[in-house]
Amino acid sequence: MIKIEITEGLITFFKNDDSRKQDGAELIFNGRVRATEHGDSILALEYEQYEGMAEVELTQLAKNTCEKFPINDLFCKHRIGKVSVGETSLHVVIWSKHRQEGIDAMSWFIIELKKRVPIWKWAILQDGSRIPSECNH
């Protein structure tokens, strides 16, 4: 199953679930904002999305990931708007029978997300100015 959410404000993590019978591996990734962006100190990032297309692309990518890897569920929340240093911008949960397939799926999903989902970062610098971040990795 897939759950995709693009959301403003603090991300609420997906709930703990002890009820599964055949998923031996739960892998969670939280991407968080670092205080440094390209060597500059920042106060926060501001994530901008192409509304509509971002959710469509993210959903399509989640489906691709579930087809490509033997995983059972992929849940993803991506935050947009201002995200302060330390806070989570990306929250991904993958459930699979075994560990390695979940790790491989997580790795691929995030690499692809960073290639194709139309979301961008603006750096909010110490002086309050706001510039497009050129970071792209």
Partner: protein
């Protein structure tokens, strides 16, 4: 003539200082022709930036003719995550 809406994000938005603008184009104008116009309009500010094209919110890797009412985005390298 046809009208297309150009959506601006990230460095494209930064270059033009607006979220979107509408252009009136000759019938038959293609995505690559429009990209040239948009790059020119940016006065060099987009010269080093690779742009992918999305028409009506879908990546459009080949050069296609635009239709009246199309929404076109020139998508700088994405940075989600």
């Amino acid at each position: 003539m046809i009208n297309v809406t150009v959506k601006c994000f990230s460095q494209v938005k930064y270059a033009f200082g607006e979220d979107q603008f509408i252009l009136e184009l000759s019938v038959g104008t293609t995505t690559l022709e429009l990209e040239e116009m948009v790059r020119e309009k940016a006065n060099g500010q987009l010269d080093d930036i690779s742009l992918r094209i999305a028409v009506n919110q879908k990546y459009t890797p080949i050069d296609i003719k635009l239709n009246n009412g199309d929404e076109v985005a020139f998508i700088p390298p994405v940075q989600g995550g």
